[in-house]
């Protein structure tokens, strides 16, 4: 292929602390720093200043953007939770499972308790995947 380029992954990689801080914004929409602080789980042990620093870091990484309102700043996410989650999962799979999904899935299925809804959803996803893979291989043959 002419002029092929390696895809640049612009999605930021988040630390555990940054995950905790960005979750309330995903869940509740644009928030100021004090609202994020209030929304954090009890017992997190962080100072208000630390939360503000983490938010600034998320902005620096490109995971958040902010808008100044008076003396405060309102933070909103740049990427959806789903996108960043998928990136983290992929990173995890590449690191732990050498990119193989099957063994990871079997670990989860064996070790985690799944509700009936989750099992049904998994089954639905697998059926959909099977249909797509089948359709692709038919197109190749033709």
């Amino acid at each position: 292929m002419k002029g092929s380029r390696k895809k640049v992954d612009r999605l930021p990689s988040l630390s555990n602390a940054e995950w905790e801080v960005i979750k309330p914004i995903w869940e509740k929409g644009p928030l100021a720093a004090r609202d994020v602080y209030a929304a954090l789980p009890k017992g997190h042990g962080w100072a208000y200043k630390t939360v503000k620093t983490l938010l600034s870091r998320l902005v620096a990484k490109g995971a958040l953007e902010y808008e100044q309102i008076g003396n405060s700043y309102l933070y909103r996410t740049v990427y959806t939770r789903d996108r960043i989650t998928r990136k983290e999962v992929k990173k995890f799979l590449d690191r732990v499972m050498d990119g193989a999904l099957g063994p990871a899935l079997s670990y989860f299925v064996k070790d985690r308790k799944l509700s009936e809804e989750e099992i049904a959803r998994l089954r639905q996803l697998l059926d959909e995947k099977e249909r797509r893979v089948g359709a692709k291989s038919k197109r190749r043959k033709s």
Partner: protein, 671 residues
């Protein structure tokens, strides 16, 4: 308490003298190398200058084999002494006659006639009891001690003042920043976080805006903080602000704060040394240049733009800096701005790399030039037996469990190395055997039988060195044997330390104490006794019966009856020269054949065979703990006769004649 202060003062004087010349020499070398490396990375020069700070904290006596002290400085110094290029230490004036000597001479001190062995046996002479007479004052020695004490006190005062000043400035700075605004969100904070990520850090220090700050700086004892003047974000544009933040971040990333504190500490310790002040000034300058280099590289900006940022910051701060000790500012004290701007404008990425080769050069330089003292001894005690075709050495207990079994099974010739430990056995040497103990303090041969045995029986053509020989009836027997015995402690033997008959043994750098007789020289013996300390023996230091020893550079002191006792008319030493006699309880020198018989103190020099001897307190470091090292005020220092001594190293393995003159006794005073 007085002894403790004296000890500390003497130790500090020795340290200050050594560290002063070593630091001066190191700074001189680094000036040359830094000049030659002026086109290279500033970081290289910065780390090179840091070696001066490291040097302050390394003991000056540290002397690994590869250090320049061993292979260059010491041999050169020695050659210069021999050639007379070095001004030698002036000979110490003989102290005034002591009260002890005066009492003896005037007859005020009563001596109960001639003290014989039988009368002595009635008395139970104790060698450890404190003599009740007052120690005689020594004019020159007291003056010298006072000077060292005063200099030490002056240095201590300087150290306290310096640290107090630094603490005050730091406290003032912290106080002035109490009203500073913490920037924990907003565009400035975001920019700082972005730059931190760019330099490879996941966190960033706190950021403060202060009305009292004249220029940007980084400070903090445990938590680093970047402080900007409050008006700076409005004065500078975004690029210029980024350059400033990047500069401070690089300081933070490189932990220059810790280096700053170490500089402060080194400066406090060596406040008296101009070379350290100069080195610190160079460190500050090169550190800033190194940060500028890194900032230009990270920012990927034009050097001109970066230089303009600096000038704008300077103008905004009205050309003043708010830095103090250990605080890192974009404008440090004494940094030459013009040189710095020149470095910036001449920046070329290719010539400013500092990688593996730079580290290798600095490491090599540090290994060789940070240690400028000479090593202790030329001999190294083997840990493993050297395997050769023809085995010429054995090790105890690796090869044989006991010394005697090693001696009996050794090939001839052979050197037997004995590791530290207590060997409870009696030993009979063989000709051609050299017996070497690992350390005379810890390699002990204990005869274990105070009723009849000789702990060691010697032969001709053998050497014994590095042992404590104790616990026997007689320590060493040299009957018809002329061994070499050196660097040994011969103590606590029931009768004699060494018993000699028909012997021409060579005894050097040995310590005889707590025996009944230190050395007993019998019939037709002509031993050479050199640089020994013969002290605290219960009866006589050196007993001579029909023999002619040569005694040189020995301390004969605090013995229970006589220092030297000639028991018969034919007992005349060949020579007794450059010895120190002191406080031998009855008589310093007793000559049975002489009508005068008893010689006290300096009178010994009137004996025909005796010359150049002194009669003053040898001033041991701690005689009651059997520490016979000379203190700094000892008159035995430099009072020996150089011509009689071939040994290069003393009992401890330190150089003899370190300053051109040999000391009396087993130890050479280390200054």
């Amino acid at each position: 308490m007085k002894a403790f202060i004296e000890h500390i003062s003497a130790g500090w004087s020795a340290w200050a003298a050594m560290v002063s010349w070593q630091l001066a020499l190191l700074v001189f070398l680094i000036v040359i190398i830094a000049f030659l490396a002026r086109r290279f990375s500033a970081r290289f020069r910065y780390i090179l200058w840091l070696l001066v700070i490291i040097k302050v904290f390394i003991p000056p006596a540290f002397a690994p084999v590869w250090g320049v002290g061993n292979w260059a400085i010491q041999p050169l110094w020695y050659k210069m002494q021999r050639a007379g290029l070095v001004i030698s230490r002036p000979v110490k004036p003989q102290p005034a006659q002591s009260d002890y000597d005066k009492d003896i001479a005037s007859g005020h001190r009563s001596v109960q006639g001639r003290v014989t062995e039988s009368t002595a046996l009635d008395k139970t002479a104790s060698t450890t009891s404190q003599p009740s007479e007052k120690k005689p004052p020594m004019f020159g020695a007291v003056k010298s001690w006072n000077l060292k004490k005063n200099i030490f006190a002056f240095w201590l005062a300087g150290l306290v003042v310096f640290l107090a000043f630094a603490v005050c400035r730091y406290w003032w700075l912290v106080r002035s920043l109490r009203k500073a605004n913490v920037v924990d969100e907003g565009p400035l904070r975001v920019e700082l976080e972005r730059l931190a990520l760019q330099v490879g850090k996941n966190t960033a220090p706190d950021l403060l805006l202060s009305e009292n700050a004249q220029s940007p700086f980084l400070f903090g004892l445990f938590t680093a903080r970047i402080v900007l003047p409050a008006n700076l974000p409005e004065t500078l544009n975004q690029t210029e602000l980024r350059n400033v933040l990047l500069h401070e971040l690089i300081h933070w990333k490189r932990r220059d704060m810790i280096v700053g504190w170490l500089q402060l500490l080194a400066q406090a310790i060596c406040w008296f040394h101009p070379a350290v002040w100069f080195a610190n000034s160079r460190i500050r300058h090169e550190r800033e240049c190194a940060c500028d280099e890194a900032a230009i590289a990270y920012a990927s900006c034009e050097p001109k733009g970066y230089g303009e940022s600096l000038l704008k910051v300077l103008l905004a701060g009205k050309a003043r800096t708010s830095t103090a000790f250990s605080i890192l500012g974009i404008f440090e004290r004494n940094t030459k701005l013009q040189n710095r701007l020149k470095e910036i404008m001449n920046y070329k990425a290719s010539s400013r790399k500092f990688g593996m080769w730079g580290w290798a050069v600095i490491l090599l330089f540090a290994m060789v030039f940070l240690s400028m003292s000479a090593t202790r001894s030329s001999t190294s005690f083997p840990r493993k037996r050297v395997a050769t075709e023809k085995q010429t050495s054995l090790t105890v207990p690796e090869d044989y469990l006991t010394i005697q079994s090693a001696i009996m099974n050794a090939p001839i010739p052979c050197t037997i190395y004995v590791h530290s430990g207590t060997y409870e056995e009696t030993i009979t040497m063989r000709e051609g055997i050299d017996l070497v103990g690992e350390n005379p303090l810890t390699t002990i041969i204990d005869g274990g039988d105070t009723s009849s045995a000789y702990t060691v029986t010697c032969t001709d053509h053998s050497t014994i060195s590095g042992f404590t020989i104790t616990g026997g009836y007689r320590g060493i027997n040299c009957y018809g044997a002329s061994p070499v015995i050196k660097n040994c402690i011969i103590r606590d033997n029931a009768i004699e330390g060494i018993h000699m008959m028909y012997s021409k043994a060579t005894i050097s750098q040995c310590i005889f104490s707590s025996n009944r007789y230190g050395i007993y020289v019998y019939h037709n013996s002509q031993p050479t006794i050199t640089n020994c300390t013969i002290s605290d023996n219960r009866y006589t230091g050196v007993s001579i019966v029909d023999a002619e020893p040569i005694i040189t550079n020995c301390i004969i002191s605090f013995n229970g009856i006589y220092g030297i006792g000639e028991y018969t008319a034919d007992s005349d030493p060949e020579a007794v020269t450059n010895c120190c006699f002191y406080n031998n309880t009855a008589v310093d020198y007793w000559d049975e054949a002489d009508t005068n018989a008893n010689y006290y103190g300096a009178e010994v020099n009137t004996i025909p065979e005796v010359s150049d001897c002194i009669a003053v307190n040898p001033c041991f470091m701690n005689r009651f703990n059997k520490d016979y090292h000379l203190s700094s005020i000892s008159p035995c220092i430099d009072a020996g006769d150089n011509s009689s001594v071939d040994e290069l190293y003393d009992f401890d393995g330190n150089l003899r004649r370190a300053d051109g003159f040999i000391d009396i006794g087993a130890y050479e005073f280390q200054d």
